[in-house]
């Protein structure tokens, strides 16, 4: 008795009395576990399936991207007797003209989308019908155990009865806490339908999901019938049902912090930056705080923080415990759906790249530092009385402040220590007309073989040549300019000819990878480009503030993808005659992973409207975008224009 739950016994005895599946007299049948399970499954389906409704849609798109969409019936789950139905957003991605739901009496009634859950990719429908819809029994997520029966119920394959798939619960906490996982066959045949337990209680709404690309309705659908299926725990959504009934969409809850480090499974959740006007800044979180608990749950690594925040909606209140200077502090934050785009504040200086930190190399005309009386050659030694250890230290501290806020700097000016107040401004639109050298005489150091070098990655077909300036010294950090060749072209020799002098003057190394296929770049090659950059970083002394990717058309598209996929290292992108590819993951602007854009568009380019529209999007996201037009149809720069690009690269480390 112990290992078989009571309700199962009840289910079995009832079924044996009444079910058509019960055994005919005279027929020999052993009471095998198989038979018992079959009866229990049958009963669970009988209990739950009236609450799973059939949805049909009319009109709308036939295809999205490469994916041909089906137009067959789909499924939904009753959540309110007066005709509210939860379903998967996947089922409505065609943007149908009309939605029909089959009512309990078998009629069809029109339905409308009332609200969406944009965090979990669900939609709430209201059916225009007077009929009473049968509510399912529910099982809370907390009761679920890996290994227990999980039956997926949909309404796609037959008008008269449900279609089912039988599996188990594979995991109870997936996709950053949003979903449960099952090995049942989850596909368009049951998306929007119910995942139920052996007692016929609904545990979740079936949806396609993938750990990446969570913002798309289609994400995860390529995993159909694979043994990896997801369901949104229904008890996580129901508390928000009233809000949705009012027509309010649900959004993922955002906090507004950037963490130090990039290995989410290893690095501790120490805050690198807090976005101004975000829930984090309102909760008085600060850079340097280390998050130890969220709502009582212990947090040791980035990934755990993602898990703790993942299930939360905008508007949810969370309790955050942090460690600040050895003391434990507890704070409360109310999550938001939208963060004010982060905009980098500007002090108005370019720092020297050698000598004592932080020596002023150049002052921006009309910039905040110049207005406050700073002069070239001055040293900034402290901010708000706190000693600065490095140029990077100053850059990070400034990036954590708000535009318009006042900072007190301690400076050394002509031997005298002074306190000055500077009001932080916005990044300048202009590129300085000339720049003084960024360093004095180079210290002695190893001088390896210079000139042309090659990078060949094992197992990759891509060719890549580079140029190391003849005055390279291992003691001097160099910028890296990566030219992504257009497929099938080889412009390396020309590139070296025109950039050689600049490379020597500005301490720049060139790198020029080519596509494996002379016909095209494959989007997966962004990781090959990344590996080549890593190879260069491993071999030479690379300045992390000046890694820039440049490319024309298909090369520029791969440049965009590489830059946005590898924000941790790439600081600038120079796209020529290309709009940002649609598939680019446009992450919000970030105080730590800075990225600036220098877009070159030929005056006669046919793509100009598309390029400008997409750049505008970046500007609205507060990315620093510098736009230039080129008279050359290929976007090739003349000597003066190239000199300006060189100064843009040379000033990427401005503060």
């Amino acid at each position: 008795m112990k290992n078989i739950p009571n309700p199962l016994c009840r289910a079995l005895s009832l079924l044996l009395l009444f079910s058509p599946l019960s055994l005919a007299p005279g027929q020999q049948e052993e009471p095998s576990l198989d038979s018992q399970e079959q009866l229990a499954i049958h009963r669970a389906v009988t209990i739950a399936s009236p609450s799973v409704v059939r949805i049909e849609t009319i009109g709308g798109l036939e295809q999205i991207g490469q994916l041909l969409l089906g137009d067959g019936p789909t499924s939904g789950v009753v959540v309110s007797a007066d005709g509210y139905i939860l379903s998967s957003a996947f089922n409505f991605v065609r943007q149908p003209t009309s939605i029909l739901v089959t009512t309990p009496s078998g009629k069809r009634a029109a339905a409308k989308i009332v609200a969406r859950d944009r965090s979990r990719m669900l939609v709430l429908l209201k059916v225009n019908s007077e009929e009473s819809f049968p509510l399912p029994q529910l099982a809370s997520r907390k009761e679920l155990q890996v290994g227990q029966w999980a039956i997926a119920i949909g309404r796609t394959l037959s008008r008269d009865s449900a279609n089912i798939s039988v599996g188990i619960i594979s995991a109870t906490n997936r996709i950053w806490g949003k979903a449960i996982q099952t090995d049942g066959k989850i596909s368009p045949v049951n998306y929007g339908g119910a995942l139920v337990d052996i007692e016929g209680r609904v545990t979740g709404i079936l949806v396609p999901l993938s750990p990446q690309g969570q913002s798309s309705e289609l994400a995860g659908s390529e995993w159909y019938d694979s043994g990896i299926g997801f369901a949104i725990p229904i008890t996580d959504v129901l508390p928000h049902l009233e809000k949705m009934k009012q027509g309010e969409d649900l959004h993922a809850g955002l906090l507004g912090i950037t963490l130090k480090g990039s290995d989410i499974y290893a690095d501790p959740p120490e805050i690198a930056a807090v976005q101004p006007k975000s829930p984090a800044s309102e909760a008085t979180l600060k850079a340097g705080d280390r998050i130890t608990r969220i709502d009582g749950m212990e947090i040791v690594r980035h990934a755990q923080l993602k898990h703790a925040l993942g299930p939360h909606y905008a508007g949810d209140k969370i309790r955050i415990e942090i460690l600040r200077e050895g003391k434990s502090i507890s704070l409360e934050a109310t999550l938001t759906d939208k963060l004010v785009p982060y905009e980098l504040p500007f002090l108005g200086i370019l720092p020297m790249r050698d000598g004592e930190p932080v020596t002023v190399r150049h002052l921006y005309k009309g910039g905040p530092a110049e207005a406050a009386g700073l002069q070239p050659g001055d040293r900034i030694v402290a901010l708000h009385g706190e000693q600065l250890d490095s140029t990077e230290d100053l850059a990070i501290k400034i990036s954590n402040l708000e535009i318009g806020s006042e900072v007190t700097l301690t400076i050394l000016q002509q031997g005298a220590t002074k306190q000055i107040a500077v009001t932080l401004g916005r990044l300048p639109g202009e590129i300085p007309a000339s720049l003084p050298p960024a360093r004095g005489a180079a210290p002695a150091g190893d001088a390896p073989a210079t000139g042309i070098f090659e990078i060949k990655l094992p197992e990759e077909k891509n060719e890549c040549r580079g140029y190391l300036p003849e005055n390279y010294l291992a003691t001097v950090p160099h910028g890296l300019l990566v030219w992504i060749h257009e497929p099938g072209t080889d412009e390396f020799d020309k590139l070296v000819t025109i950039w050689k002098a600049t490379c020597q003057r500005d301490n720049l190394i060139l790198l020029a990878p080519r596509s494996a296929d002379p016909e095209k770049w494959d989007p997966t090659e962004v990781d090959v480009v990344r590996a080549m950059i890593d190879e260069a970083i491993g071999s030479y002394n690379i300045d992390p503030t000046r890694i820039v990717i440049q490319g024309r058309r298909a090369g520029g598209a791969i440049g965009y993808l590489t830059a946005f996929n590898h924000r941790d290292i790439i600081r600038g992108i120079v796209p020529i005659d290309v709009a940002i590819p649609r598939r680019t993951n446009l992450k919000p602007n970030d105080p730590v992973e800075r990225l600036s854009i220098y877009a070159i568009t030929p005056t006669a380019s046919k793509l100009k409207p598309a390029i400008q529209a997409r750049l505008k999007q970046l500007e609205q996201m507060k990315y620093p975008v510098h736009k230039v037009e080129s008279a050359d149809a290929e976007g090739r720069l003349d000597a003066g224009e190239r000199e300006q690009l060189a100064r843009w690269i040379d000033s990427l480390d401005k503060i």
């Binding site: 008795m1 078989i4 016994c9 079995l12 005895s13 044996l16 599946l21 019960s22 055994l23 020999q28 049948e29 052993e30 009471p31 095998s32 576990l33 198989d34 038979s35 018992q36 399970e37 079959q38 499954i41 049958h42 389906v45 049909e56 849609t57 009319i58 009109g59 709308g60 798109l61 036939e62 089906g70 137009d71 067959g72 019936p73 065609r94 003209t97 009309s98 029909l100 009629k107 069809r108 009634a109 029109a110 225009n128 796609t156 394959l157 037959s158 009865s161 449900a162 279609n163 089912i164 798939s165 039988v166 599996g167 049942g184 066959k185 596909s187 368009p188 045949v189 159909y224 019938d225």
Partner: protein, 345 residues
């Protein structure tokens, strides 16, 4: 779940289940429990591996079948694999036979082969099982040709996911078979699996595994099996040497003088998209459509029982209705669904 359940002592099991146990004891005297291994041993001697034409352009030259008489009749699917004079069959014990084609029913996509052997173990088609949604199933087939010689065929387990018919909508399923099927919750329909046996969890025959088939309603692969009860008349006819009707061309069912949109008095919105929703743009004065109460801006949802997803689907669907017959429409007007009947002429 994924493996056969452990053998249980019936006594211990019955002792646990009081109410159920008593009932079971009344209807079925306890027998030694037989696991799936036992079922497989019972079924495998009836399975046949079939080799024939193919082997080029990604077409496999093998499929599955099973014995349906002690004298060597084999039921399989009708396919290009059988389109050769040399059909080789290999029985479970490894014996190899040349088979002759007794006959086929292309409409049902089945064929019967005969080998020169006697005293074979076989499935009795007249005693086939009927399955319900949720019934546990086993699928025996030589999928991907992994079994060779005297190796037993592969066994997949699952449940019946749905019972449905393949004629739900024209053009949805590219197969001539238009009857009831079991949709299976197991990835059964892979290359070489067609013609395999679907049994219940005790190894009793219930269906024949179909070919690979894509469901255009969902753009997913459909794993299905045709119930033996649907095939019995055809099996009897083929074994008796009677000829079977040819495959029916769906399009041939079109009446000579069908309804047209113009004839009904309907003007639809301009058909500019791949799936332009079937909104009525105008209704001709004095037409059948106007008399039946149709109005501009009505959205046509159904003709008869068929969902109409686009203007093109509407044109196509009414071309199957003879002018003398009524046209039953369900339309959406604002949020209301209305049933309307346009009389025949």
């Amino acid at each position: 779940m994924a493996t056969s359940p452990p053998a249980r002592s019936p006594r211990r099991f019955l002792g646990g289940l009081i109410a159920a146990g008593i009932l079971l004891a009344v209807f079925s005297p306890p027998l030694p429990a037989q696991g799936l291994a036992g079922v497989s041993i019972k079924v495998q001697p009836k399975m046949v591996k079939i080799y024939g034409a193919g082997g080029i352009k990604g077409l496999e030259s093998y499929q599955s079948g099973f014995l349906i008489s002690k004298d060597g009749h084999i039921l399989t699917v009708w396919s290009y694999v059988l389109d050769t004079e040399f059909i080789t069959t290999i029985l479970d014990d490894g014996r190899r036979f040349q088979a002759e084609l007794v006959g086929a029913d292309p409409r049902l996509e089945i064929a019967i082969l005969k080998i020169d052997a006697e005293g074979l173990d076989f499935f009795d088609c007249s005693k086939a099982e009927e399955l319900n949604v949720g019934s546990r199933i086993l699928a025996f087939s030589n999928l991907y040709g992994v079994a060779t010689g005297d190796e037993p065929t592969s066994v997949l387990h699952g449940v019946v996911a749905a019972r449905t018919t393949l004629d739900a909508r024209r053009g949805v399923f590219k197969t001539p078979y238009r009857g009831p099927v079991y949709v299976l919750d197991a990835i059964t329909n892979n290359p070489g699996a067609a013609g395999g046996a679907l049994t219940d969890h005790q190894g009793r025959l219930a269906g024949i595994l179909g070919k690979e088939l894509r469901n255009s309603l969902t753009n997913t692969w459909l794993n299905y099996s045709i119930p033996i009860s649907q095939l019995n008349p055809a099996i009897d006819d083929i074994m008796a040497g009677k000829s079977r009707p040819r495959a029916v061309d769906e399009m041939a069912k079109r009446p000579a003088r069908p309804h047209t949109l113009a004839g009904l008095g309907l003007v639809m919105v301009p058909d500019v998209l791949a799936k332009t929703p079937p909104y009525i743009d105008a209704v001709r004065r004095g037409s059948l459509a106007e008399k039946s109460g149709l109005r501009p801006d009505d959205l046509v949802l159904f003709v008869g029982d068929r969902l109409i997803p686009s203007c093109e689907a509407l044109r196509n669907e009414i071309s199957f209705i003879d002018q003398i017959d009524e046209v039953h429409l369900v339309i959406q007007r604002d949020d209301d669904l209305l049933d309307l009947v346009l009389p025949g002429r």
